[in-house]
């Protein structure tokens, strides 16, 4: 089963929960897909065995063959090409390229546009005891995380599996999150009982419903006096699977890179039961 942990709002506790899930089950794969700021490694302290650069394909223009007709620049919806005929120059803006290949498709002179590679990030693989650890790290300055996330999910996540996979998502509801959730069987939405937490949870619920994913809610920094998340969960018929109380010692441990399972060992049983519960819920599909 592939379980993604997402949130809407940032800082609600995705990594706190995902690393605790991995440490509670032991035999599983933890994948940090928050590639713009991966921090699962701080808690899992994995031994990294492989560091592999991840490349995307971009056009390479042979200026000897190019007639500077400008068709490629006109066809590129991402505006990644500019043609200056008077200077006999076709400029490529690699950071805007989405590797779609339309430029070489429309080019009238065969062999003018070839492909070259550009590194956008790294994939680190290792282990933390019996937990298989994978993370993506986007290079600084890269504008899009999606190609790296897609690369990792296609390389390392099977379409269906009986093994446990935990995917640590980036916050929000934009393209990187969509890419992270695509292969998941179940989505855990981590939130906090504040108006901001609720607002972004509402957006995240819309997203998982649009994607047809099963989902449940985890309230982190729970406070008995706040019922706004409870009210919302009833309205959208989503279960609240776990409440983690607001507590200074958890926050303090987090700031030191100490996983939740060390401060609150009792959470392991609860998280194992939670996985059981969503395993049953996932089977109802």
């Amino acid at each position: 089963m592939i379980i993604a942990v997402a949130s809407g709002k940032g800082g609600t506790g995705k990594t706190l929960i995902t690393t605790a899930l991995a440490l509670s089950t032991g035999h599983c794969t933890y994948i940090d897909l928050d590639v713009e700021e991966p921090n699962g490694a701080i808690f899992l302290k994995p031994v990294i065995q492989h560091e592999t650069p991840y490349n995307v394909v971009i056009p390479y223009i042979d200026k000897e063959k190019c007639t500077f007709c400008g068709l490629c620049a006109k066809a590129c919806v991402y505006h990644a090409l500019a043609v200056i005929p008077t200077l006999k120059n076709t400029m490529v803006f690699p950071e805007l390229c989405h590797s779609c290949g339309v430029c070489s498709f429309v080019c009238p002179v065969k062999g003018t546009i070839d492909e070259t590679r550009r590194e956008i990030g790294k994939i680190n693989k290792g282990h933390c005891g019996t937990i298989r650890f994978i993370e993506g790290r986007l290079n600084i300055g890269q504008p899009s995380a999606v190609p790296l996330i897609r690369g990792i999910t296609s390389l390392y996540i099977p379409d269906h599996t009986d093994e446990l996979f935990f995917l640590d998502s980036s916050p929000g509801t934009s393209c990187p999150v969509v890419e992270t959730l695509k292969k998941s069987d179940y989505v855990l939405l981590v939130t906090e009982p504040t108006p901001f937490g609720l607002n972004d949870l509402e957006l995240a619920v819309e997203l998982v419903q649009d994607m047809g994913k099963k989902a449940g809610i985890i309230i982190n920094k729970h406070d008995d006096r706040q019922t706004l998340i409870d009210d919302f969960s009833q309205r959208v018929h989503l279960p609240i699977l776990l409440r983690i109380p607001y507590s200074m010692d958890i926050q303090e441990a987090y700031s030191r890179g100490i996983p939740l399972t060390e401060v609150r060992p009792g959470i392991k049983t609860l998280l194992k039961e939670l996985i059981e519960q969503i395993n049953v819920a996932g089977g109802e599909k």
């Binding site: 991402y78 505006h79 990644a80 090409l81 500019a82 200056i84 005929p85 400029m91 803006f93």
Partner: protein, 111 residues
Amino acid sequence: MKMKVFIAVDSNKGLDSPLGNRFGRAGYFLVYDTAKDTVISVHENTFKDDAQGVGIKVANMAVDNGCGAAIGAQPGPKAANILAKAGIKMLVADSGTAGQAIERFKPELQG
């Protein structure tokens, strides 16, 4: 010396058009000919709401129109790169009208 000038403006009112405070995402572009002292063509900016790469397309428009100078707000690095490579002189102004800017940059537009 005659020269075509690419002017980024907010709305299309000929030389009375106000300059915008953005280059790539301006509403319209006027191509002004210094020899004829008139606007010879107007181009609506169909790229202005695109997510990325707007400056590239707009700078390419200046190149395609054979302009020797551009007037407008500070362009982004990609647009500036293309303009510089193409030898198009960038004259930064983000207030007043197109006509006032031409008046102000007269020495630079002599070539």
